[in-house]
């Protein structure tokens, strides 16, 4: 029996650069940054005063009563899921609910709900803690709420692997369809962690850039801080948002005449087994993840026309990813068009791999790679073709990779293909 094929038939997002797929894609291709200075009263003592907040407040899009029962991470995921589900054309009973599952990830879960309820506990006592706190803050709340919305009765999953979570959501969903556990999976990831505590914690790890956060920095300077592969990079910029993809078994999709954006050819999940926070400096775990994705998809290195890199704008990680690409693609590494859309969106943590999956699918669909902005001086340790304005991708059958790596040593690579 041939292996079941998995295709993308719906997409939705809300991101620092747009409130839906169309506006987000337009902004990415145009090279528009979503990074801004936080309001002056956000938390003045914080060493980082910039972030990629969602371009559209999800609470203004969703029904008020439903929104107040959801953590912001769930609100963002719901906005993305509403768009993806409508986009798929499955909303009118197009799939048996028992053959419909969810795999929507989060890196940190409902952290702002947890912290605001802790503030309430200290200020007003236990009687004022919300009875909704637990269903709001649990990490599977975004997946569970999406499951309720679409009526999913197969598995509803929440993979958690820090900054690789969103990509792992996609990879896990592919497995569910291949294993015959579902015909349709709603997959992706979300994050809403722009709060002083997680920001202070990431800053203490020296992971966040502290550039453009001083009292005299002009607001425009914030847009230049996320600069993957540039010699001036000094840490990532925190973003928030969600990406949701509707994945569908190929025969199921063609039988109903669905619009197919791309196929998911292969996935690779590995671990560094190196350190809880530091990436393997030679990128060996990531290399193995990419190799697995290529092998899994039966893809030759020369088939890869485009890579949406993890590249978060940290000194070590960006270089290591360049090594991975050379180790896996060999001489074809020079021909692949590489981008880091994080130069525009910042780093969405558990939402990153999902948003970047959508960017990768659209790059194949439109044959267009978004640029990497702020790349003024390419790090000499990086030998890749990284355009600073949008670049057309070649015609014919192509494949593209989306890479994500996370604390805990997690490496996830997903290979998409034109169809």
């Amino acid at each position: 029996m041939n292996r079941r094929r998995v295709v993308v038939t719906g997409m939705g997002t809300t991101s620092p650069v747009g409130g839906d797929v169309a506006s987000t894609w337009e902004a990415l291709v145009a090279g528009t940054s979503g990074v801004r200075r936080l309001p002056s009263d956000f938390y003045p003592d914080l060493p980082v005063q910039i972030a990629g907040s969602a371009a559209v407040d999800p609470a203004e899009v969703l029904d008020r009563v439903k929104a107040r029962r959801m953590d912001r991470s769930t609100q963002l995921a719901m906005v993305a899921a509403l768009e993806a589900w409508a986009d798929s054309g499955l909303a009118d009973g197009g799939v048996d609910p028992e053959r419909l599952g969810v795999a929507v990830a989060s890196g940190i879960g409902g952290v702002t709900t947890l912290l605001s309820n802790y503030d309430t506990l200290l200020d007003k006592g236990p009687r004022r803690v919300s009875p909704l706190a637990v269903p709001m803050l649990m990490p599977n709340a975004p997946a569970a709420n999406i499951g309720l919305y679409v009526g999913a009765k197969a598995g509803v999953h929440t993979p958690v692997s820090a900054c690789a979570s969103g990509n792992e959501g996609v990879a896990l969903a592919v497995d569910q369809i291949r294993l015959g556990r579902a015909e349709v999976m709603v997959a992706g990831g979300t994050e809403a962690a722009i709060h002083p505590l997680p920001m202070a914690a990431f800053a203490q790890m020296m992971a966040l850039s502290k550039t453009a956060s001083g009292p005299d920095d002009d607001p425009q300077a914030a847009q230049r801080v996320s600069r993957p592969w540039d010699t001036g990079r000094d840490g990532f910029v925190l973003g928030e948002g969600a990406g949701v993809l509707v994945l569908e078994e190929y025969e199921h999709a063609t039988a109903r005449g669905a619009r197919i954006y791309a196929e998911i050819l292969g996935t690779g999940i590995t671990n560094d087994a190196h350190d809880i926070a530091q990436p393997d400096p030679e990128g060996r775990g990531g290399t193995r993840a990419i190799q697995r994705a290529l092998e899994d998809g039966g893809i030759s290195p020369g088939d890869i026309a485009h890579i949406n890199a993890h590249a978060t704008s940290t000194p070590q990680g960006d270089v290591a990813e360049g090594l991975m690409i050379h180790a896996t693609l060999g001489k074809f590494a020079d021909e692949v068009v590489v981008t880091s859309t994080k130069s525009m969106t910042g780093h969405l943590l558990g939402g990153a791999g999902a948003l970047e999956s959508i960017a990768t699918v659209l790059a194949i669909h439109h044959r267009m790679s978004p640029p990497t902005i702020n790349l003024d001086n390419l790090d000499p340790a990086v030998e890749l073709d990284i355009p600073t304005t949008a670049r057309a991708l070649r015609s014919g059958d192509i494949a593209a990779l989306n890479n994500s790596f996370g604390f805990g040593g997690a490496n996830v690579a997903v290979a998409f293909g034109s169809i």
């Binding site: 009563v65 009687r127 004022r128 009875p131």
Partner: protein, 82 residues
């Protein structure tokens, strides 16, 4: 001392905030669960908000006796008078 109607009006605003039910529908004879579709977690939210608004204490054991809006208003009136 707040009148029955003033308490009902304030309570109706709380129910509207928590559940989205129009405040005008929150009348004394209405059952929270059967008529207004207030689920158990939302009821806890309504009770806690009412405690803060009316400066009263509504013990958990009492909440199950507050079947209708009128039951709640009567309880709040008695608690305020005590």
């Amino acid at each position: 001392m707040a009148t029955t109607e003033e308490i009902r009006t304030d309570l109706a605003e709380i129910v509207n905030e928590v559940t989205g039910i129009p405040a005008a529908d929150v009348q004394l004879e209405k059952s929270f669960s059967d008529d207004l579709d207030v689920d158990s977690l939302s009821m806890v939210e309504v009770v806690v908000a009412a405690e803060e608004k009316f400066d009263v204490r509504i013990p958990d054991d009492e909440v199950k006796n507050l079947r209708t809006v009128g039951d709640a208003v009567t309880y709040i009136e008695k608690a305020q008078a005590a």
